[in-house]
Amino acid sequence: MTEEQDTAQLGCGPWARFVTAFRSSRTSRTALWALLAAVGLAVLAPWIANERPYYARFRDSQGYGEAWTLITPIAQAVGREARGGGTGFAREANALRDRLEFMSASLGEQENGAARASLDEYLAQLSAVEAAVAVSDPITAQERSAELLRLLAPLLGRLEPTAVQLQARASWPLFASISGVDIAMLALWIGVGILVRGSRRWHAGGSRTRLIALCLFALAAGFGWHWASGSAEHSNSVAWKERITADPDGRAVFALIAYGPGETDLSRALESPLVSEGPSGLHWCGTDALGRDQLARLLYAGRTSFAVAFLAATVILTLGAALGLAAGALRGAADAVVLRAIELLAAFPTLVLLVGLVALLPRDLADSPWTLPLAIAALGWTHVARLARAEVLRVSSLGFVQAATAAGFSRSRVILRHVLPNSLSPVWIAASFVLSANLVLESAAAFLGFGVQHPAPSFGALLSEARATQSWWLALFPGLWLFAAILSIHLVGEGVREALAPRREERAR
């Protein structure tokens, strides 16, 4: 044993000993980094592959035209809602204001004096209607909204796309599409990376504080981003590339892979028969039959699959440990119920029951992204609970627990403070296998067509599209990616097992 390890073993908690043991294996370290990288590709997917540019500066004649055509129906809706005093008023008024402000910003500074003036007048009128609705004054609101509709025709005439001069505007479309959840996940991922990198210093303890601080920071970052980027982006579905190339002076900075996961190549979609394209310089992993970039879909598939697997694993570990603890510590009726439940659920092949459960749910439940992870968790907790129960039984008979009981500690204190922390190591060993099993289950369910109903695909959905085709690249890349993820999880699991419970052969050495 080296001197460094020696000092690490002295006067430090079980966590530090575990970290040292885990880090001493090169395979485990590499596997952990590989797993972090795989998760990172999923977390970073919208930054790596996106059909929106990071930054764009162009004359948005197409967007302007669309906003111009949409003003009439929205203004009519505003008038209707103002008269009815309906709840939808705020939403419609905001939509109208968004579009008017967008048009105002698109107009050139020098020209279009008349158009700008009437736009400002219209915005002032809209504010007046809003004010009237806000103080719930139906008569004024009705008058003002009638005025709003009367002003509409001259406004549309002045703002006609052919009559105005547009100026180039700078925008950050990719950033606008990032949600608070994305930011929170990013913060969490970076934080875990830093913690793992610097885990040498964890010997001093305090890891729990750091972990909690990290979670709080990620939460704050997510909410902060959510509030800061509050305004809704109304051009979500607009094809950015078309709009930018429509302006000869337009320029933009795209992400590394300038394709989104759902971006079809319309020129090819009409061809028949539909053929997919092999890997090329343009599409590194080829395209599917609709011309969608396979690499972009792959990155987004990782998001779905990992999200489901991690969520289900969290629920399984918590639920399994809690039920195992309850069964092992309380015994009696609780034990009998948990044991029977384990026995019954273990009587079914999980995949068969899972797809049956998910497929027979009504549409609205089946479409929810929470259904699949929760169904996986509901069927998969048995193994963890069995392990936890066995360990709780073993630990309960040990001397220190009896000493704690003899010292007169309350039963709940003995169970929660003495038994629980000491019976978690089988749960941690099982954690990675639970994670990989979830990944496989999710992909298998998606492969059979019962995965998360989401515009973004998952690994299983990608693989099922490759079935019975001769396009080898459709199956190869998602499969390799999934294989690598499962393999690294298994290797991390082996590392955790060896670090927590050294096998006989290792101990004998």
Partner: protein, 340 residues
Amino acid sequence: MFAFGLKRIAWMLPTLLAATFVAFALLHLAPGTPIDLIGDGAENAAVADSASVARFRTQHLLDQPLWRQYLDYLGPFDLSPRGHAWFGGSGETPYGGLLVGDLGTEYLRPGVHVGTQIAERLSITLPLMLLGLLLGYAVGIPLGVFGATRRGSSVDRALTLSTFLLYSLPVFWIAVQLQSVLGRQGLDLIPVLWPSGDASAGQIAASAVLPVLCAAYGVVAYVSRQTRASMIEVLESDWIVALRARGISEQRLVWRHGLRNAALPLCVHLGQVIPALVAGSVLIETIFDIPGMGTYLHGGLLRREYDVVTGVVLVSACFACLGLLLSDLLQALLDPRIRP
């Protein structure tokens, strides 16, 4: 031994009965009834108008509380309007349900019995699964023993690594990949889809090669890893040293004395291998278009046929329980100490 087996089988029955309830409840508890699902799938014009919807609901007891549906499913009395006179039926079909071996009929093809369909399809699924299982054990055990006896050598390390890789390999990827690579035009090595319609025995055997291999490799990986681990433990024990000191041949030592003791944990794992095989068969059959129980389940799920899904789930639960039973019996057979 006989008494032990009987006792074990008798113990299995209440578990299976409870399993029918769990499966039925899990699959039927979801709010919404099959008729809503069929209706909005618009797959069956016959149930589209409201009068026939109502008739369909009464016929299949869908307007009844869950416990009545379960009792009807369980049997032996048919509680539907055409069922036993005791329960207000017309007496046309007095008996029905699981206890008289009736798994119900399909909704969309009235008159087609789920039980007969499953039995027909099992005649394809069972041989494939069994072949996969046997092949898996036949290859996995020698590989594990081989690795354990040459522990630490480069061959052992290569074997350990490759079985670890195989263990992490998702079956639905490798099956699809093999299909797309071996199914290239002009490369008629092996059929990659099950032959439709009548096919000669040779054709069927040829198209069974890939599915069986796909079913077997996971078993090989699992079994060889377990064999190696338990064999290493056994070969280190004192009585092996004692036997070796008596001059017993190494062959006999490993294969007869060592393996017999190392096989005990393997039998325990049989109870886990069989459910995994059943789950794998759903994927494999879907990929290779094999008209077996797995594709029946898949089709039933897509058409939301409750009786089909419940039936297949129950049959696969039976297989899983049989696996547990088999592993217990084998353990008792191999280790006299377990026998009461």
